[in-house]
Symmetry: C2
Subunit: 248 residues, 2 copies
DNA sequence: CGTAATTTTGAATCAAATCAAGAAGGGTGG
DNA sequence: CCACCCTTCTTGATTTGATTCAAAATTACG
């Protein structure tokens, strides 16, 4: 069973691991108390579908732990990932009754859910909530636009290198490490999920990972553990501008 | 010269054509007065660059009339459009001092600019502004995710059909017409801009437009005026789900 | 009316997809 | 503990859709 260390319903906002990054980050103690009253926890196992696109959605939520994906599907089954949800990320849209995307748990996942109507009401009254959600949404929009450049203009090799460097840097930021020089991390996605992220087939993903390994850009231990001997080299392969980019 | 009908600096919020859709849509008369004091108008001619990515940006703005694009560029010149700015759309990000993308005027354009610092200060105090900007940003994020599916998984033919149906439907909504049956509209983009939108080359854009014309999905009068005899047929070619999709 | 910019079309090439086996893990039950 | 199965991943051969390179046609414009 997942998350026995985070017993459902007994976690208070004060002890919440994502307290300072989630939609509630700017809330004051009184406001937290109000959230506390409308919140409840739900957990899903790896592989489970949290919500289907088009389904009634009577809650919004924060990812507390684990990873989920947002995907869009065409009738013939082609699927494109359009969001990767990490701890502290927000799911759902205030004011929208139906889910726009499929949400699928990639790992075991714990979500802090708020009943939608009370949450919407509270947003009207609580600028701190709306302000934080705005900031998070603007960040997501920036990420989506970076992703659009990747999907529209990068080669398969550049796409893989970009994804690896995104994961490496995210991992470093969580662990408060600098993302330079030699780095190691686990891939949280299967080859197929990577393909859906990058707009490729899983065979192409596999081939390009093999190529980067063969050329020493990365090292693999098992299928999932990656070591990058030189981040600069990886960033170069990703085709990104060398300068650090934007600040949040 | 452009926009002699909208003399700079003399337009009041009360007579503004985008008043009800822009970031100020929810503002009350007092709040409008406050915006009025920090706003100024700037116009750009078709083809002009409004801002370069990385440039200092000491204002945010609403597009009053005309069309602009948001683009990202790689060092070797590959470019991807990541936003299409229409009247009432918002440019810039509160809290960010440097532009993240190139903004280029596609047609002659008029923008209602607000000095950034006063605007940010006002946002802190004015929930109506933050709420409206949140709503607009969530809409943009949805559009970006639809766009990601297009870039990652659609064929060239589907991409073109999708773009045409997006433009057709936008045009219809501006003119308060239903977007069914027979429709006519002008393309606001060159073949190259369409290619940058769709992640294709301009040759492929041209070929696919020719193919759709040959097969009677569209009719062309000149290079830019398009007639769609049957919107359902076009939607089918776009590969989108037949159901209408989401509401804003 | 001529010149530049944009668009169309053609032919050749190429990167990624598709089709098709195998190999490598990872977990289960005998 | 090992044999087996199922999923995930890798690799190979071939096809294909889109790009690239090249030239002609159309349109816009001074």
């Amino acid at each position: 069973m997942a998350h026995d260390d985070l017993p459902h319903g007994t976690l208070t906002c004060g002890e919440c691991p994502i307290r300072h990054r989630a939609v509630c980050a700017r809330c004051e103690p009184t406001e937290l108390g109000e959230l506390e009253r409308i919140k409840y926890y739900r957990s899903f196992e790896a592989g489970q579908t949290v919500i289907w696109a088009g389904d009634q959605m009577d809650f919004v939520a924060s990812v507390v732990s684990g990873i989920a994906t947002l995907t869009q599907t065409m009738e013939d089954g082609r699927t494109q990932m359009v969001g990767l949800l990490l701890p502290s990320d927000f799911v759902g849209r205030p004011g929208r009754a139906r889910a726009a995307y499929n949400v699928i748990a990639t790992t075991d996942i714990l979500m802090c859910c708020f009943r939608r109507k009370p949450f919407e009401d509270m947003m009207e009254r609580t600028p701190h909530l709306a302000q934080r959600l705005l900031q998070m949404t603007l960040d997501e929009l920036d990420a989506a636009r970076e992703w659009m450049l990747l999907l529209g203009r990068k080669t398969a090799r550049e796409k893989i290198a970009s994804l690896l460097s995104i994961i490496a840097r995210r991992d470093a930021s969580v662990n408060m490490m600098p993302s330079i020089g030699r780095m190691s991390f686990d891939l949280p996605l299967t080859r197929e999920a990577m393909a859906d992220y990058l707009g490729l087939t899983l065979e192409t993903v596999s081939r390009q990972i093999s190529a980067l390994k063969r050329e020493g850009v990365i090292e693999l231990a098992g299928k999932r553990h990656v070591t990058v001997p030189d981040m600069d080299r990886l960033m170069f392969e990703a085709g990104d501008d060398s300068d650090g980019g934007l600040v949040g």
